[in-house]
Symmetry: C4
Subunit: 239 residues, 4 copies
């Protein structure tokens, strides 16, 4: 994949996460530069539903801009830069405030997958709390020190919730990251409703998480969802 | 009904279950070949909202393909093939992960109908758990051994939940299966909200289930819903 | 208002209750014949979203048809006919299965208004249970005996829930009935969420119900909602 | 900003709050006259989704009309007039019945922000109950005496819930008021779901509320949301 193809896919991903309401006016998706692992692409500060290829900027892994072209960047670049720096295997990152997972983020609930499609979120979703190390802030992750702390909460996994704020998702491709973001939210939504009934939840077993996780990382599963989302978001026509 | 009419109706059913959000990118509806009870029709591996008549393939009841025409089939064909094999009266099957019933699927809640329109789901909806007989898997029903186990959970009924996964619905026609799928979800959604209030639920009595179940299997009720769903899904115009 | 104007308004009401999802493929709105209080207008058996003026039939208060013109009527006509017969002040009736109020209908919860806009539902919404007097049925109100029983549960009020089934709403005009149907559902939805928190609910006081109820029956309030709903349902253009 | 620009922005705000379902047929947004702090602009009595610049009227701070031009005003003008009179810093006000916050309004729940985007609602959202001082009414705030009471509940803050009724939001600009209205609702929605799980909620600390509140009042954050909402509500085209 060359950089321009990566940028095209990133624009599509912005439209899809907006269409699926995984983001509102805030939140962002990024992709590592396929030709230069020391930089990544990210839109200028704009609602994801409105992002076009003209809005995509390039940043170094310390989140300094390569060239702002007169535009204003998102303040929370370090969420992305610090994860790319810590995790050479990660090619794409999403940060979002999906409404349905916020009830878990504000109750510091460590989530586990209970659905086979949600195995991609990993065995446990840690909850990172900016207050633990940084005290009273505006909760935005705007420094590399905060970004490194969040990246270390993600660890070798693919997801973390952020207390009072939202979530972060890392993956091997833009398509995988959008897929994981979608099913992270669904897992949260289903768990919250299950909890409201007071009934005991049967989570996936560790072995099931491993096996189902492998499955949904395959191009077949990702591709089936991606094809539909492109049509739904108005990117592709239904043939 | 000849096979081409069955295929047309199957394509419509795919659009309807997608429009009603009974499926997302995953899930499938199938119909038995009206001219050959030893085979059934099912789309190639594709999101239901995108399925056209070009995508429909034919499978034997052991879920081997009659002719793939170079396409990739769904992996979970045995859900369908095994039910058709075990139940000569069944003419259509739907497998789905409707979001609103997942809280019951992950709490292994045996559901009973509490709404007269949901009498079609039967007296009790069993919960099948792949782990009971097959241990740690990726939860997909991809072998005839698993398919037979699921079919035996459905038994002589029309529905089963699948723990951590979704549900399966069997019926005497495509229209009946879509109707039952819709009201299975509604029953789940209403029960979950009722449970969250802590109040005692009055279910239909066994006699009510029998009487209301007969009613909603009649062409009049099915036809009224089907006519509207065709318009909503863009298949038919409002006259 | 002459009969043709009443029929036009009834068709609009069908579209509005469908657009607002107060009905799905089932449920119906009717209006008394303004020139003959001994009959009422009701669509033939069809999903409300599809009803046109061609579909409107006339029925006597015992729910026998004046002239079916070869069409099939709804089976539950007695819900309407019996209320018109018992209540000369009632000019319009709605029967629906709005999803959000079903959790209260299946828990036999006697609802009271907690919102000023819901004062129109009356001091208390009784729950009518067909099983109390008629034993095991398919729950449909298809005889005048059942219709009279339901009408007597409504009494001098404007609403009743029907256990395992839905609700009925009576009013002095089509616009009032749609308004009450909308806010009956909203009151139910808000109460269910409030109940799920376990917190104590403050209902409107009896005096507040009386005063707010008068207010929302005025043409100004009804008209403001009706104007918007006509635009939303595609009946009128936004000027 | 001249008055005509303020009126244009007010019309856009009406469309946006309707599109975001922050209001239904009831509720209103107003703006102080930028050239005359002793008056404010408000639509005639009409559903917000339908409001055009022709519908905008001017009122004095005692809520008497400057010139009705033959139109009927909203009855609840004193909600706005009394806040403008008490708070010279306030330039815009919104009154709404957003469905998702009504469960807190009817349980008299004093809300605190648990999301960084909701810091704009202030440290605590008081619940004003018309019955405390005015006894049994129709709950509408139609006199200056009631309006002053509500304004004094808002105090130096930006929000208050109204028991059995809805909420009021005050801000330094129309854009800020719409933003605060949106995140007031989101905070309520997330809290209610969190409460339904029975888990302990971690609210923002007072220091976090102050810091995050400053952040989201900045033009950058407001502008990002406003740009997207204008496109969503059909006011602006996506470039």
């Amino acid at each position: 994949m060359d950089p321009s193809a990566a940028i095209s896919e990133l624009v599509i991903a912005n439209r899809i996460v907006a269409h699926l309401k995984l983001v509102d006016s805030f939140g962002h998706v990024t992709v590592r530069n396929p030709e230069n692992p020391a930089s990544f692409f990210m839109a200028r500060s704009r609602a994801p539903s409105l992002v076009t290829s003209e809005d995509i900027l390039e940043f170094n892994l310390d989140s300094t801009p390569v060239d702002l072209r007169g535009m204003r960047p998102y303040a929370e670049r370090p969420i992305h830069g610090c994860i790319y720096r810590a995790r050479p295997d990660v090619m794409a990152v999403c940060h979002n405030h999906a409404h349905e997972l916020l009830p878990l983020a504000i109750t510091r609930t460590v989530m586990r997958p209970a659905l086979h499609t949600a195995a991609c979120i990993g065995h446990e979703v840690p909850v990172w709390d900016s207050r633990d190390h940084f005290g009273d802030t505006n909760l935005l992750v705007t420094t590399n020190e905060m970004g490194d702390s969040l990246a270390s909460a993600v660890g070798k996994g693919s997801t973390a919730l952020m207390r009072g704020h939202g979530s972060v998702i890392a993956g091997r491709s833009v398509q995988e990251v959008v897929f994981t973001t979608y099913y992270l939210r669904l897992n949260a939504e289903v768990l919250i409703k299950a909890m409201s009934t007071g009934k005991e939840i049967t989570y996936l077993s560790p072995g099931e998480v491993d096996r189902a996780g492998e499955l949904h990382a395959q191009p077949m599963a990702l591709g089936r969802a991606w094809e539909e989302w492109c049509v739904q978001a108005g990117i592709a026509k239904l043939s």
